[in-house]
C-alpha cells in the first residue's frame, strides 16, 4: 500500500528565516522529531540545514535539542527545564516544528520564540495510519450518501451538492492530476445501483457551527483532564469486574497433590529442608535460604513429600526446584503455628521476625519479600496500602476489603508499627465503592490510618503511579518508593501479615479471582499455594475457547499459560481467560505518538522499539528501558501492533547482561 509522509512542517526559505531572526544573534535551536512518517532516522536533517544557514549569516548557535512530539506539553516542559540554563542564554529560540509545537514552546519560555517552519496543509485530516484517505471533520458525515467518498475533502471546492461542471475527462479543473470526486462518487454509487440516492437523500446545507469554539473548548478540557488525571499517562481499559465483584470468597479444598516451587519471590531460590518420603504438616517450613533477598517456603498441606525435582514455573522461563507433596487430607497444622500477639502486645522488632518467618511477599504480583522492605535503613513516613487493583477482571483484593476489613486495617497498623510510622493510607479506586464504604466503618479513631478514594485509571496499582497520585511525590528513575519515604504494600499482604501475627499462619493460601470467557464457575476463591491450574480448571469448569488464552495475573499484565500443569504461587492474584491479541503483523512505527502519551514512566516506547530492532543496547539503556514497568499501556494502544512488552523484556535482559 502507498504510504504517505504526513510530516506537518517544512523549513521556511533562508530569506524568511533571517528576516524572522533580525536582531537576534545568539540562537538556540529546538526541533521536533516529526510525527506520522515512518521511523527511520534519529536526527532529522532540518536542524543541520538551519544551523548552516544561521552560521553563514553570522549568527551563533549556542545549542540545540531535538525532542519527540514537541506538542506534548508535559514532557516538553520537563525537557526544557533540564536545559533551562543553556536556553536562557540565547537571544531567541528557533523552533523547527509545526505550529502546535511552536505555540507550546512559546507558552513555556519567557524569551522570544521564533518559528523556522511553515506548516504544511494536508487538505483534511489523516487517521492513525499513513494512508491517503483523509477526513474533513465537518461534523456531519455525508459518506453514507456518497458511496464512501468524501465530497468535503476530495472535491477541490468541497461541494456537497454534486459536480460543478468544470471537470474534463474525469479530471478536476484545479489540476490535471486530480480526479473529479463527484464523478467518482457517481460511478461508485452506480456500481452499487444506488445512484438515485443522490436525488432522494440530498446533502443539506453545511452547518459550520458544529465545530464551535465552545464545543472544542469543553471537549479539549475534559479529555486533557481525563488523560492527565493524577499521574501522567495510563489508559482506561474495559474493567469487566462485574462478573465476580459481588461473589464472596469461597474456599477450595486442597487437592491430592500440591507442587510448591522453591522460588515464589524476587531474590534467591530456597534450599529444600525436606526430602522424598518425609512427612510434613501444613504450615511447616520446607524451604529456606541464607541469601540476603529471599523468602521462606512452607507446605500448604499435611502429608508426604513424594519428590523434590525441577518443574515448570508459571512465571519464570526456566524450571525451578519444586517440592511435590501428597495431601493426606488430615490438615494437621505444624506446631509452630501459634498466635504471636496483637497489635498492642507485639513488639516492633518481633513483627519483622514474624513476617520473615511467615515467608510473606508482595502479593500484588511482584513478590518482593516484605521483611526486606520493612527492614530498610531508609526513613519511612508513610505506609501506603494499595487497594487499587486496576487490572480488568480481578476482584481478589476488593473482596478482601469487603469481607475482612478489620484484618486489613490491623495488618496495615502492624506494618506501620514495624516501620515506626504514624501515617498509613489505604487508597481505593472509585470503582470499588463497597470496599471503600466498608473500610470506612472499621478504621479506629486515632490509629493514624487514612482512607482515600482515587479516580480509576490503569496502571494506578503500580506503586510509582499511586505515590504520585496520593502523595504527589515522584520516585526517581531507577529508585524505589523507599527513596521518597513511602512503603507500599498490597491488600493481600496486609491480610497475610495479620494472619502471621494473630494466628501464626505463614503464607500458604491466598485469594484468587477466577474469571473470563469460558469460565462456568467464576468467583473469588481461597486457594492453597501449590495447587495446579489444571485442578482449578476442573473445579471452576474452565473451557478455553478458540482465540482465547488463560493468563495468570491480570488481563493486561498477566502471563499467558500454555501448560496448565503449573502451580498457584504467592503472587498469583488471578486466573483469567481473555481473548488473544489480534493475529496481525507488526508494521513499521509511524510515530503516531500514542505510546508516548500513555507511558506512565514517561519513556519513549516507540524509540525503544526502534533501538531494540537495531540491537542498539547503549541507546536502549540511555533512553531508560530498565525503567519500563511492563504495564502494557503502549502495547495496548499501538497502532502498528508492536509486541512492545515482549520486546522490552528482551531489551532489559540484554542491557543487564551487558552490564555484568
Amino acid at each position: 500500500m502507498q504510504k504517505i509522509d504526513y510530516t506537518k512542517y517544512k523549513l521556511k526559505t533562508k530569506i524568511e528565516i533571517l528576516e524572522m531572526l533580525t536582531g537576534h544573534k545568539r540562537v538556540y535551536i529546538l526541533s521536533c522529531n516529526k510525527c506520522f512518517n515512518e521511523f527511520t532516522l534519529d536526527v532529522e536533517p532540518e536542524t543541520a540545514e538551519l544551523n548552516k544557514t544561521l552560521n553563514e549569516a553570522g549568527k551563533t548557535t549556542i545549542g540545540f535539542m531535538a525532542l519527540d512530539f514537541l506538542c506534548n506539553k508535559y514532557l516538553t516542559e520537563k525537557a526544557l527545564n533540564n536545559a533551562k540554563k543553556d536556553i536562557e542564554e540565547a537571544d531567541a529560540v528557533a523552533v523547527i516544528s509545526c505550529g502546535v509545537g511552536v505555540q507550546t514552546i512559546a507558552e513555556l519560555l519567557n524569551i522570544p520564540v521564533i518559528t523556522m517552519c511553515d506548516t504544511v496543509n494536508q487538505g483534511g485530516y489523516h487517521g492513525i495510519s499513513l494512508n491517503p484517505e483523509k477526513c474533513g471533520a465537518c461534523g456531519e458525515c455525508y459518506l453514507s450518501v456518497t458511496g464512501g467518498i468524501c465530497p468535503v475533502v476530495d472535491c477541490s471546492k468541497g461541494l456537497i451538492n454534486g459536480a460543478c461542471g468544470g471537470a474534463k475527462n474525469g479530471k478536476c479543473e484545479v489540476s490535471k492530476e486530480k480526479e473529479c470526486a463527484w464523478e467518482n462518487i457517481f460511478r461508485r454509487l452506480a456500481g452499487q445501483n444506488r445512484q438515485n440516492i443522490l436525488i432522494e437523500q440530498q446533502p443539506k446545507l453545511r452547518n459550520y457551527n458544529l465545530n464551535s469554539v465552545d464545543f472544542v473548548e469543553t471537549y479539549v478540557k475534559s479529555v486533557q483532564a481525563k488523560r492527565n488525571e493524577g499521574f501522567y499517562g495510563g489508559i482506561y481499559p474495559e474493567e469487566r469486574k462485574e462478573f465476580t465483584s459481588k461473589m464472596a470468597v469461597e474456599k477450595i479444598a486442597a487437592p491430592d497433590l500440591v507442587y510448591i516451587p522453591l522460588q515464589q519471590h524476587a531474590g534467591a531460590v530456597c534450599e529444600p529442608l525436606v526430602k522424598k518420603g518425609d512427612k510434613v504438616k501444613a504450615g511447616q517450613k520446607i524451604g529456606d535460604s541464607k541469601a540476603l533477598v529471599s523468602a521462606f517456603i512452607h507446605s500448604s498441606v499435611s502429608g508426604e513429600v513424594i519428590s523434590v525435582e525441577s518443574k515448570k514455573h508459571p512465571l519464570l522461563p526456566f524450571p525451578v526446584p519444586t517440592i511435590i507433596i501428597k495431601n493426606d487430607k488430615k490438615d494437621e497444622k505444624d506446631t509452630s503455628i501459634l498466635p504471636k500477639g496483637t497489635i498492642d502486645t507485639i513488639k516492633k522488632e518481633d513483627i519483622l521476625t514474624v513476617v520473615k518467618e511467615a515467608g510473606i511477599v508482595g502479593m500484588g504480583g511482584a513478590q518482593f519479600p516484605t521483611h526486606i522492605k520493612l527492614n530498610s535503613s531508609k526513613p519511612v513516613d508513610t505506609v501506603l496500602l494499595n487497594g487499587c487493583e486496576c487490572e480488568p477482571l480481578l476482584n481478589a483484593d476488593q473482596r478482601l476489603m469487603v469481607e475482612q476489613p478489620e484484618k486489613i486495617i490491623t495488618g496495615l497498623r502492624l506494618l506501620m508499627k514495624a516501620t515506626g510510622t504514624t501515617k498509613g493510607i489505604i487508597a481505593v479506586e472509585d470503582n470499588k465503592p463497597e470496599a471503600f464504604e466498608t473500610l470506612k466503618k472499621y478504621i479506629p479513631e486515632g490509629s493514624g490510618v487514612e482512607l482515600l478514594q482515587v479516580k480509576t485509571k490503569y496502571p494506578e496499582g503500580a506503586e510509582r503511579m499511586l505515590i504520585k497520585r496520593v502523595l504527589n511525590r515522584e520516585v526517581p528513575r531507577g529508585g524505589l518508593p523507599l527513596d521518597v519515604g513511602v512503603l507500599v504494600n498490597n491488600i493481600g499482604t496486609a491480610a497475610a501479615v495479620y494472619d502471621a501475627v494473630y494466628s501464626g499462619l505463614p503464607l500458604i493460601k491466598r485469594v484468587i479471582t477466577v474469571a473470563g470467557t469460558g469460565v462456568s464457575k467464576p468467583g473469588n476463591y481461597e486457594i492453597p499455594i501449590g495447587m495446579l491450574i489444571s485442578d482449578i480448571v476442573k473445579i471452576c469448569g474452565i473451557q478455553i475457547p478458540v482465540n482465547f488464552e488463560l493468563k495468570m495475573g491480570g488481563a493486561i499484565m498477566g502471563f499467558p499459560q500454555d501448560d496448565l500443569e503449573v502451580p498457584v504461587i504467592k503472587g498469583t492474584n488471578g486466573i483469567i481467560v481473555v481473548m488473544k491479541k489480534d493475529d496481525l503483523n507488526e508494521e513499521p512505527c509511524i510515530k503516531c505518538g500514542r505510546c508516548v502519551n500513555v507511558c506512565p514512566m514517561e519513556l519513549k516506547p516507540h524509540k525503544l522499539v526502534h533501538y531494540a530492532k537495531a540491537e542498539n543496547w547503549d541507546k536502549s539503556e540511555k533512553d531508560g528501558v530498565l525503567n519500563c514497568i511492563e504495564c502494557g499501556c503502549c502495547e495496548d494502544i499501538c497502532s502498528s501492533k508492536s509486541r512492545m512488552v515482549e520486546i522490552f523484556r528482551k531489551s532489559k535482559k540484554m542491557v543487564r547482561e551487558r552490564k555484568k
Partner: protein, 202 residues
C-alpha cells in the same frame, strides 16, 4: 486530531437495507469513541426492527493493510450483509468503502476535529496549517486560530474584558498577543512587518 460522535438513529435507519452488519472501530476509543452511546444506539436499532446480522469490533480501521486482512477473517459476515454501517471517523469509513466498492457502506458517526496532530491528548494550541507561519512575529500565539476571525492585522474591537465576542469562554487572541509582547518587552515593529495578504494557494 479526529474524534467521533455517534449519529442519531433516524439518520442511519432510512438508509439501511436488508441484512445489516455493524463494524465498530475501537482503535481510538480510549478517549474519543462514544462507547456507551454506541451501545445504546445498537440496542435502539435492534428494537427498531433493523435486521442486524452481526457486529465486529476492531481497531485502527484506517490502516488498510490491517483492514484488508480482516476482510479475510470476517469474509462470511461481510459477504452476507447487504448494508454495512461503520462506526469510526471519516478516514475509517473511506478506507473500508474503498476496499469493497461494490458494497453499501454507511457511516454511523460524525467526525469532529480537536487541536493537535500527534498522540491523543488534544493540545490547547491549534494550527490551521496555513503554510505561512507568522508565529515568529506574534510572540508564539497564532492569530489564525487564536483569533476567532483569523485576523492578521490586529484585534477587531469586538472583545469585552479580554473575551471574544464569539464566546465568553474564549480569550481574545490579539489581546493575548499584546499581553505577551508586554511581558517580553517587544515593540510592535515586527507586527507591522508581518501583515500581508494571506496566500491561500500554499
Amino acid at each position: 486530531m479526529l474524534i467521533t460522535r455517534v449519529k442519531k438513529k433516524d439518520a442511519i435507519l432510512s438508509l439501511c437495507k436488508g441484512k445489516t452488519l455493524l463494524i465498530a472501530c475501537f482503535g481510538c476509543k480510549e478517549v474519543h469513541f462514544e462507547e456507551k452511546e454506541y451501545q445504546a444506539l445498537k440496542e435502539d436499532l435492534k428494537t427498531s426492527n433493523l435486521n442486524i446480522s452481526g457486529e465486529i469490533q476492531l481497531d485502527y480501521l484506517c490502516n488498510d493493510d490491517y483492514t484488508n486482512k480482516r476482510f479475510e477473517l470476517h469474509k462470511k459476515e461481510i459477504d452476507e450483509a447487504e448494508t454495512i454501517i461503520i462506526f469510526s471517523c471519516g478516514v475509517g469509513v473511506q478506507t473500508f468503502a474503498g476496499l469493497i466498492p461494490g458494497k453499501t457502506v454507511l457511516s454511523g458517526c460524525d467526525t469532529y476535529v480537536l487541536p493537535g496532530f500527534s498522540g491523543f491528548t488534544p493540545s490547547s494550541h491549534d494550527c490551521e496549517q496555513c503554510g505561512e507561519c507568522m508565529l515568529g512575529f506574534t510572540v508564539g500565539i497564532c492569530p489564525v486560530t487564536a483569533c476567532s476571525k483569523g485576523l492578521l492585522n490586529g484585534q477587531c474591537g469586538g472583545a469585552k474584558k479580554g473575551k471574544c465576542e464569539v464566546s465568553k469562554n474564549k480569550d481574545c487572541g490579539w489581546e493575548r498577543i499584546y499581553n505577551r509582547m508586554t511581558v517580553l518587552k517587544k515593540d510592535d515593529l515586527t507586527l507591522k512587518k508581518m501583515i500581508r495578504v494571506r496566500n491561500y494557494n500554499k
